[in-house]
């Protein structure tokens, strides 16, 4: 890695494999255990105050990456580095880490215990960490968090139950709960996909505002490429547990190089524009993650797949500043261009 400056969160060679439970007899007969490769070698970094979007279809492992970073799912391989050191695994260290890294969940209807008051839900991280001594202090902290999350006057919400709030208000409660410990990093797992379109903007604006005022970094997990473009600094495209392409948001959207990125772009609606001509539409379905694929994960559906793609797995290669692509044909094309320009052989 040539990145000298230490990022806030760094994920290196992350693999998460889940074992499939088999029937008793088939388990006896087959020696090999079936494994789903939810995440299969993912490396990226997020800077202080940066928003990185992880874009992929359902089943691409994007949520698993987020949960693994937060130590909710144990990694099979690889490390998560937070603030220059691997995330500690002992009780105390983990507790300290969890004060710095929080999660916002997809479904605000499920993420709040229906039998708890809002004040108790928001204050729960404080109670668990044992950070407040008096009831007044607790109320004050909750009040601040709710106000930061845009729920004012905060006192009106204290003794209400989640079912008395709307979806947008609930998501703000979830955000308030994530904010109360003053985290530096938040994993947002599809935070607006369950909300009405009219409420989405408010939540997204709130997240951006928190980034600007508090320098919170986000891993924004979404399946919506246009949403990723709107909110993030950088975008990583994920497919079947691997990152296909990563780079500055604008560059990915306007000059995405990976065939998968291009296929996603082709189906992304652009306002005020009717597209003419052929659109490359992907054929087939995402392969079963339980079946091991030797070559590039995308090779079975890729229009540009070659023999090499089916046998070897391409690694991410930086083609321009901060823009990396994991695709043999694209990498070879790039090599050829450079060779033509400089007349020298490039070895990559």
């Amino acid at each position: 890695m040539k990145d000298v400056r230490e990022a806030l969160v760094r994920v290196e060679g992350l693999k998460v494999h889940f074992q499939i439970r088999e029937g008793f007899f088939s388990g006896l007969l087959s020696k090999e255990k079936k494994v789903v490769r939810a995440v299969d070698g993912v490396t990226f970094a997020i800077d202080q105050g940066e928003i990185l979007s992880l874009v992929g279809e359902s089943g691409s492992g994007k949520t698993t990456v987020g949960k693994t970073i937060l130590q909710l799912v144990p990694p099979t391989e690889g490390v998560v580095v937070f603030d220059g050191a691997p995330v500690p695994q002992d009780r105390e260290g983990l507790k300290a880490f969890r004060q710095n890294a929080q999660m916002i969940f997809q479904d605000p209807y499920q993420a709040l215990n229906p039998r708890h008051y809002i004040i108790d839900i928001v204050a729960e991280p404080l109670d668990v960490a044992g950070l407040v001594k008096t009831a007044e202090e607790r109320e004050q902290r909750v009040r601040e968090a709710l106000e930061q999350a845009g729920l004012t006057p905060a006192d009106d919400y204290f003794y209400r139950y989640p079912y008395e709030l709307s979806g947008g208000q609930r998501q703000r409660v979830v955000i308030a709960g994530a904010l109360i410990l003053g985290p530096r990093f938040i994993v947002a797992d599809e935070p607006v996909s369950m909300l009405d379109a009219s409420i989405r903007t408010g939540i997204l604006k709130l997240m951006l505002h928190l980034r600007d005022t508090k320098g919170i970094a986000y891993l924004f997990i979404t399946h919506d490429l246009s949403l990723a473009w709107l909110i993030s600094d950088r975008i990583a495209i994920m497919y079947l547990g691997r990152i296909m392409e990563i780079g500055i948001a604008d560059e990915i959207i306007k000059a995405g190089l990976h065939p998968y990125t291009q296929a996603l772009m082709a189906i992304m609606p652009v306002p005020g524009q009717t597209r003419e001509g052929e659109r490359p539409v992907l054929e087939g379905e995402t392969p079963n993650a339980a079946v091991e694929i030797m070559g590039c994960k995308f090779s079975s559906r890729c229009p540009r797949a070659t023999e090499r793609c089916r046998l070897e797995q391409p690694e991410l290669m930086e083609l321009s500043a901060g823009h990396s692509v994991a695709c043999f044909p694209v990498q070879e094309e790039y090599k050829k261009n450079i060779e033509n320009m400089t007349g020298e052989r490039v070895n990559v």
């Binding site: 229906p114 960490a129 204290f158």
Partner: protein, 294 residues
């Protein structure tokens, strides 16, 4: 404090809603009224009709049919059957309540821990539960009662310890579904331990089920007490409906046609068990909205 007022008001509103639902449900209403009457009698009855198991009557008082002086007649020792019945209601209800409490605590704790922990702990706890579930409860209780000796407290413990398995099963299955909720994952992500999650998130969400289950267990506990006492494993120093039936059977009240001796305690047991059962099913319906749709 103003905040506490809001809290209290909300709780009051919730209780009011529950009460009105109970009143609207005829089964629940009937069960509650019957039980309430029995509890009143158990508390205040002995003050009105003094009675002692050890005070025997004269020879001419033995096995007299109902008449003036003795509304429900007398037993083979010349004791007033009504007095015996009222004194017995105390013990029967007390044993039912305490044994149910023990059973509920054991069943809930084992169910939640088993369902939330999973894996090895779940396996071990569920095999123990299966043991208590499949073993014939009556012989087990008889053996335990015989070994521990006949005292009221032993009977309470024996009933409590043998009747929790069903609750544990039900609570475990509910725990399995509750723990899949995202709010549990959220709590893990803020660094909470298993104890915190089980106490603050699982327990409140399985509690309605525990409550409804408890009432049904109370019915079973009272039946168990009656059975044990009837079989002669009861505490002879205390009057209970089961002991009454035991003496009635022993002295041949059934064959001599002394119906006033064995019928009242039998009917009381049936009434209380019926009341508990009706309440249990009705509360289950009220507290478990999914059942209402059917």
């Amino acid at each position: 404090m103003a905040k506490n007022d809001v809290k209290a008001k909300l709780r009051k509103r919730k209780i009011k809603a529950f009460v009105s639902q109970v009143l609207a449900n005829k089964m629940a209403l009937f069960g509650t009224v019957v039980l309430f009457l029995f509890i009143l009698v158990a508390i205040f009855g002995p003050l009105l009709v003094p009675f002692s198991v050890l005070e025997f009557g004269e020879v001419e008082d033995m096995l007299n049919p109902p008449g003036p002086g003795h509304v429900l007649g007398t037993d083979d020792m010349g004791r007033d059957v009504l007095g015996y019945l009222i004194a017995g209601s105390r013990i029967s209800l007390l044993v039912g309540a305490l044994a149910t409490g023990i059973s509920m605590v054991i069943g809930t704790v084992i169910g939640i821990v088993s369902g939330y922990s999973g894996k090895a702990i779940d396996n071990v706890l569920m095999r123990i539960t299966d043991f208590f579930l499949v073993i014939p409860w009556l012989p087990l209780m008889m053996v335990l009662a015989a070994i521990l000796g006949t005292s009221i407290w032993n009977i309470i413990v024996v009933i409590g310890v043998t009747s929790w398995a069903g609750t544990a099963r039900v609570v475990r299955s509910q725990t399995l579904s509750v723990r899949e909720n995202q709010f549990v994952e959220r709590t893990v992500s803020i660094g909470a331990g298993s104890g915190h999650i089980m106490l603050h998130h699982i327990l409140p969400n399985v509690f309605p089920l525990v409550f409804a289950n408890t009432i049904l267990i109370a019915a079973a506990a009272i039946t168990s007490e009656t059975t044990l006492s009837f079989l002669g494993l009861g505490d002879p120093a205390h009057a209970s409906w089961g002991m009454m039936l035991h003496y009635a059977f022993e002295t041949g009240a059934t064959s001599t046609g002394a119906w006033w001796y064995f019928l009242p305690p039998g009917l009381c047991v049936v009434a209380v068990v019926l009341a508990f059962t009706l309440m249990g099913y009705a509360f289950d319906e009220i507290l478990n909205p999914k059942l209402k749709e059917r």
